[in-house]
C-alpha cells in the first residue's frame, strides 16, 4: 500500500471532518445568513436626520466637509498673484455657550492641520460652501500650510511669528510661497484643486474651528461644540490686478447662534492700508463620527456567536466521544493536528465571515440610504474604497480569529458549554465593561482583549465621540489584539496537548 503523510493531506483530513457533519455545515451557512439578516434588519429600523441639523456640505469629491470662515475677496480672471503679510494671529474672546467643567466633558484634542485657527490667503471657485479652493495659511501653533479641496495638505515652515505669504495661479495649478521678510521666498508646494474656472474669488481669510467637548461612558456618548474666534492683522496686501475688497461670511456662520446667543461669523476693518479680520469656523474635512460601514455590519455579532460554537465544537466534540484518540492514533504529532484544525477552521470561518460581511454591506447600505444616511454627511460607500475593503476583510479575519480562539479553548477545557461561555465572555465582557467605563479609559481594554477586534468593522479613523468602546482604537490595533489572543490560546492548547494524556 502506498501511504504518504503530508501536512496538506492532514488539512484535507480535517476539512473532511468539518464538512461531513451536516449540523456544522448548516451552522456555518447560518452564521453568514444571520450576519446578513441581522445587519439588514438593524439597517431597516435605523434612521438619522443628521443632514437636517448639522452643517455638512459636500466637498468637491463628494465627502462631507466644513466650509465656514470669513473671506475678504474679489473676483480675478486668469493667472494672478496675491501677496500678503500676516502680521499677527490671536484668539478673539468669544461668549461661552458650553461649560465643559459643568457638563463633565473633556476637550477633544484634534491634531489635524485642518483643526487649527488659521489666517491666510485663498483662491476659491466662488463663495458657495464646499466649492474647490487652495489656501496658504499661517496656523496657530502648526506653522505654515498649503491646503486645497478640504483634504490635501502640504506643510511649510514651522514659523509662528509674522509671515509673508504668496499664491501664484498659473492655469490649473496654484503655487504657494512663504517668506520671513518679503524678499527671500521659499516654495511651500503646489496645489491642484479639482475645479478652477477662469474667474475665481481671490483674497485673505480667517478661520477658527470650534472647540469640541466630549463625554462617553455609561453606555452613551455626547459631543458639544464651543465656537471660537480668531483675529488676524494683514498688511502689504498686493494683488496683480485692480479691484475692490469685499468682506463676507462663508458658510453657516450663525449655526450655533440659537444656543448661546452667539453670532459667529466675522468682520473686517481697514486702517492705514492694513486689514484686521475676525473670523470663525472650520475649513476642512468634517466626517460625522458615525461610520456607515460599521452600522451596516451590526449583524457580525450574531455570526460571531455561531462561529464560536463551531470553533469550540470542532475540538470538544472529539473529546466528548473519545474520537480524539482516533485522531491522535492516526497522527501522533499532536501539534500538527492542532495546526491543521486551526488552519481549516480559520480559513472556513474567514470565508463565511467574508460572505456575511459583504452580504451585510450589500443589503444594509441601500437600506440605510433610504433612511437618512445620505449626502452630504454620508457619501455612498463603495466596495472598492480601500477603507471599506479593509473593514470587510479585517472583519472576516476577526471572525476567523475568534473561532480559532474558541477551538483552542475547547482543547484546553474539553467541555463544550464551558468553552463556549468563556469564549463569548472574552468578547462580550470587555465590550460591556468598555461601554460603561468613562472617557478614553476603555482604550487599554480594547488593545488587550478580543473585544478590540470589533474595531475591524470601522472604515473611519478612531474617535472618542462614540459610545462603542472599540471606536477608540484603529482596525489594525484591533486585529492585532485578536492575533495575540490566537497565538496565546493556541500556544497554551499546544502545550497542554503535549503534556496531557489524550
Amino acid at each position: 500500500m502506498t501511504a504518504r503523510e503530508s501536512f496538506p493531506r492532514l488539512l484535507l483530513a480535517e476539512w473532511t471532518k468539518l464538512r461531513s457533519v451536516r449540523r456544522w455545515v448548516v451552522t456555518l451557512l447560518a452564521a453568514a445568513a444571520l450576519t446578513v439578516g441581522l445587519s439588514y434588519l438593524a439597517a431597516s429600523s435605523s434612521r438619522t436626520n443628521i443632514n437636517e441639523h448639522a452643517a455638512f456640505v459636500s466637498g468637491p469629491h463628494g465627502d462631507p466637509v466644513a466650509d465656514d470662515f470669513y473671506f475678504v475677496h474679489q473676483p480675478v480672471t486668469g493667472d494672478t498673484t496675491l501677496t500678503v503679510r500676516v502680521a499677527s494671529l490671536e484668539p478673539e474672546p468669544f461668549g461661552r455657550d458650553v461649560d465643559p467643567e459643568l457638563d463633565r466633558m473633556t476637550r477633544l484634542d484634534d491634531p489635524s492641520p485642518f483643526a487649527r485657527p488659521a489666517a491666510g490667503i485663498m483662491l476659491k471657485d466662488g463663495t458657495r460652501p464646499g466649492s474647490s479652493y487652495a489656501s496658504l495659511m499661517l496656523t496657530a501653533g502648526q506653522g505654515v500650510h498649503l491646503q486645497w479641496d478640504f483634504d490635501a495638505d502640504s506643510r511649510g515652515s514651522a514659523s509662528s511669528g509674522a509671515r509673508w505669504l504668496r499664491l501664484v495661479r498659473s492655469g490649473a495649478t496654484i503655487t504657494g510661497y512663504e517668506s520671513a521678510d518679503g524678499t527671500a521666498w521659499r516654495k511651500v508646494g503646489t496645489a491642484t484643486p479639482k475645479n478652477l474656472p477662469s474667474t475665481v474669488e481671490v483674497g485673505f481669510y480667517v478661520s477658527s474651528p470650534a472647540a469640541v467637548y466630549t463625554s462617553r461612558g455609561g453606555g452613551s456618548s455626547s459631543v458639544g461644540e464651543r465656537p471660537t474666534s480668531a483675529r488676524a492683522a494683514f498688511d502689504n496686501v498686493r494683488l496683480s490686478s485692480e479691484g475692490t475688497w469685499h468682506g463676507e461670511t462663508i458658510g453657516r456662520g450663525d449655526r450655533l447662534g440659537e444656543k448661546g446667543g452667539v453670532r459667529a461669523g466675522g468682520r473686517v476693518t481697514e486702517a492705514g492700508g492694513g486689514y484686521t479680520v475676525v473670523g470663525t469656523g472650520t475649513v476642512g474635512p468634517r466626517p460625522p463620527d458615525d461610520d456607515m460601514v460599521e452600522i451596516a455590519l451590526v449583524g457580525v455579532i450574531a455570526g460571531l456567536m455561531a462561529l464560536i460554537a463551531i470553533g469550540v465544537l470542532s475540538a470538544t466534540s472529539e473529546y466528548r466521544r473519545g474520537m480524539i484518540r482516533t485522531t491522535f492514533a492516526a497522527t501522533p504529532r499532536r501539534g500538527r493536528v492542532l495546526a491543521a484544525k486551526a488552519i481549516v477552521l480559520g480559513a472556513t470561518s474567514f470565508l463565511v465571515g467574508l460572505v456575511g460581511a459583504v452580504g451585510s454591506f450589500a443589503l444594509a447600505v441601500p437600506a440605510l440610504r433610504e433612511r437618512g444616511f445620505t449626502t452630504p454627511a454620508f457619501p455612498r460607500p463603495s466596495l472598492t474604497d480601500p477603507p471599506v475593503l479593509r473593514a470587510l476583510l479585517l472583519t472576516a479575519a476577526f471572525l476567523a480569529g475568534v473561532a480559532v480562539v474558541g477551538l483552542a479553548i475547547g482543547v484546553l477545557l474539553r467541555h463544550t458549554a464551558a468553552a463556549i461561555t468563556i469564549t463569548v465572555l472574552l468578547v462580550l465582557g470587555p465590550l460591556i465593561v468598555g461601554m460603561i467605563l468613562p472617557g478614553t479609559s476603555p482604550r487599554w481594554l480594547m488593545y488587550t482583549t478580543l473585544a478590540g477586534g470589533m474595531a475591524t468593522q470601522r472604515a473611519k479613523p478612531p474617535t472618542v465621540t462614540l459610545a462603542e468602546p472599540w471606536a477608540l482604537i484603529g482596525p489594525w490595533a484591533g486585529i492585532g489584539a485578536v492575533a495575540a489572543w490566537v497565538a496565546l490560546t493556541l500556544g497554551l492548547a499546544w502545550w497542554q496537548l503535549r503534556r496531557r494524556d489524550a
Binding site: 500500500m1 502506498t2 501511504a3 504518504r4 503523510e5 503530508s6 493531506r9 492532514l10 484535507l12 483530513a13 480535517e14 473532511t16 471532518k17 461531513s20 457533519v21 451536516r22 449540523r23 456544522w24 466534540s317 472529539e318 466521544r321 473519545g322 474520537m323 484518540r325 482516533t326 485522531t327 491522535f328 492514533a329 492516526a330 497522527t331 501522533p332 504529532r333 494524556d501 489524550a502
Partner: protein
C-alpha cells in the same frame, strides 16, 4: 522485521490508582494473542500506552520495534479498535473512514474496500448516529484495517455483536493471523477467546499473571481430572471425598473429581454401589483453566469499583 507489539516494564499511574504495574509481554506475528483480565485490570490502559495516547511513567511500548509516536503513517503499521463509540453521530460511515484515510495518505479506494470487508457497504452513506453497537464495532474494525497494517489491536471487539457477528470476527482474527499479522485481542471473558487465541496474556491489577500458549494451559488444567455423570450426586461426592479426592459439582448430575485416577473412581463408586452412567476424562474449558490460573490473583482483588469506594475511608 517481524510485526510485533513489545511491552517492557510498563507502568502507569493515574492519580491514586496504579493502572499498569510493571507489565512486560510480546505479541508475535502469525498468532492471535488473547489479552485477558477482569474489568479494570489495565488492558485498555496498556493499549492506550502502546498507541502513544497516554504517556507511561516507566517502561516502553514498541510497535514493530519503534515507539508509536515516531511513526509517520501509523495506520499502515498498527490498526486499532479501542472504543467503537468514538464516532461523531452526525458523520457518515464513509466520511469517518475518509478523513482517517486522508490523515495517513491512504487512497480513498481503500475506504470502499474495508467497508465491504466488514459488511457495511450498504450502510456506507448512513450517519453513524443510527448505527447499532454491532455496526459501530464493524466500522471500528474497518478503521483498523484501513491501512492494511501488519499489527492489529482490538479492545473487546465482540461487545454488542450478534451471534453471526461473533462467528465472523473470530474467523476474521484467525485469517488475519494466518496472513502473518500480529493480532492482540482483549476480553474480560475467557470463553470469547476459546477457539480463537493461540496465546494468552493474562493480567490482574495491572500485573502479568500468565503469558502462555493456550494449548499448554488447557493441557495443564485438564490433567488428572475425571468427570462422572450420576443420578446420586450427593452419595457419589461423599464416597469420592472419603477416598481422598477433591470433588466439584459441575452440573445437576455431574461432578468433577480431582486427585484420583479414572479406574480408582470407578472402583470406589462400584464398591459403594453408587450407580453412574458415564465416566470420562475431564476436558477443561479455557474459562476453567483461567480461573485456576488466576485464583490467587483474584482472591485479594475485587477489582471493579474498588478505587471508587475508597474516598470515604481516606
Amino acid at each position: 522485521m517481524e510485526p510485533t507489539i513489545e511491552v517492557r516494564a510498563l507502568r502507569k499511574r493515574y492519580r491514586t490508582a496504579v493502572a499498569v504495574d510493571g507489565l512486560s509481554f510480546t505479541v508475535r506475528a502469525g498468532e492471535v494473542t488473547g489479552f485477558v483480565g477482569p474489568n479494570g485490570a489495565g488492558k485498555s490502559t496498556t493499549m492506550r500506552l502502546v498507541l502513544g495516547l497516554d504517556t507511561p511513567d516507566e517502561g516502553v511500548a514498541l510497535v514493530n520495534g519503534r515507539p508509536y509516536r515516531s511513526l509517520r503513517t501509523p495506520l499502515t503499521q498498527v490498526g486499532a479498535l479501542l472504543d467503537a463509540s468514538a464516532l461523531h453521530p452526525g458523520r457518515r460511515a464513509r466520511d469517518h473512514l475518509l478523513w482517517l484515510a486522508h490523515s495517513n495518505g491512504i487512497g480513498r479506494r481503500r475506504v470502499a474496500e474495508v467497508l465491504d470487508q466488514v459488511g457495511l457497504a450498504s450502510a456506507a452513506r448512513r450517519r453513524t448516529g443510527g448505527f447499532s453497537l454491532g455496526m459501530r464495532q464493524r466500522l471500528g474494525i474497518a478503521a483498523a484495517l484501513l491501512g492494511d497494517p501488519p499489527v492489529l489491536m482490538f479492545d473487546e471487539p465482540v461487545n454488542g455483536l450478534d451471534p453471526d457477528g461473533i462467528v465472523w470476527i473470530r474467523g476474521l482474527m484467525r485469517s488475519l493471523a494466518a496472513e502473518g499479522r500480529a493480532v492482540l485481542v482483549s476480553s474480560h471473558l475467557m470463553s470469547e477467546l476459546e477457539d480463537t487465541a493461540d496465546h494468552l496474556v493474562a493480567v490482574g491489577r495491572g500485573r502479568l499473571i500468565a503469558d502462555t500458549s493456550v494449548a499448554a494451559l488447557l493441557a495443564a488444567a485438564s490433567k488428572d481430572r475425571v468427570e462422572v455423570t450420576t443420578t446420586q450426586r450427593a452419595e457419589a461426592t461423599t464416597v469420592l471425598a472419603n477416598g481422598g479426592a477433591t470433588v466439584t459439582v459441575a452440573g445437576p448430575d455431574t461432578v468433577v473429581v480431582d486427585g484420583l485416577a479414572g479406574d480408582r473412581v470407578a472402583a470406589l463408586l462400584t464398591g459403594a454401589a453408587v450407580p453412574f452412567s458415564e465416566l470420562r476424562r475431564h476436558r477443561a474449558s479455557l474459562e476453567e483453566a483461567y480461573m485456576d490460573l488466576t485464583r490467587g490473583a483474584i482472591e485479594f482483588a475485587p477489582e471493579a469499583g474498588a478505587p471508587a469506594t475508597e474516598g470515604s475511608v481516606r
